[in-house]
Assembly symmetry: C2
Homo-oligomer: 85 residues x 2
């Protein structure tokens, strides 16, 4: 059976945007040296929410992204850029 | 009655992020010179959705933002930056 030489890549062009953003938020949190629970308190969200976001299980809205960015005292576009998006 | 000199400003620090992003998406669409209906087709969303997004009535998710950015062939962080976010 002749393949056309293009390996079928399970990975799409990028990791899921949610996973990429989750990693960037985790990095920012670790830089702040705070727990997920403390970050949740600072952002004003449920403490489990931060864990889900960091694991890439949450499709954040722009409003939530703005709240995280405000907490990290950076611009939302900056946080997305750090995520590689 | 003595005011403390600080004018109560209805506008918060910024317009709503949804409105700011909606304007940036509208600008990109007009640059492409396509209708809302055509953009909806390109992005793969319902045609009314683009109107709601442009009017700032839709709190986009990151996944939706990525789809608009991919359609405009720019990075999601770039689109947010153009929105002033």
């Amino acid at each position: 059976m002749q393949y056309d030489g293009v390996l079928f890549s399970v990975n799409t062009r990028r990791e899921s945007p949610q996973k990429m953003l989750g990693s960037a938020i985790r990095e920012r949190r670790l830089e702040l040296d705070v727990s997920q629970e403390k970050l949740a308190e600072l952002v004003g969200v449920h403490r489990n929410y931060v864990g889900k976001v960091e694991r890439g299980e949450q499709n954040l809205t722009i409003e939530s992204l703005v709240r995280f960015a405000d907490t990290f005292k950076c611009r939302p576009s900056e946080l997305l850029g750090e995520a590689g998006l």
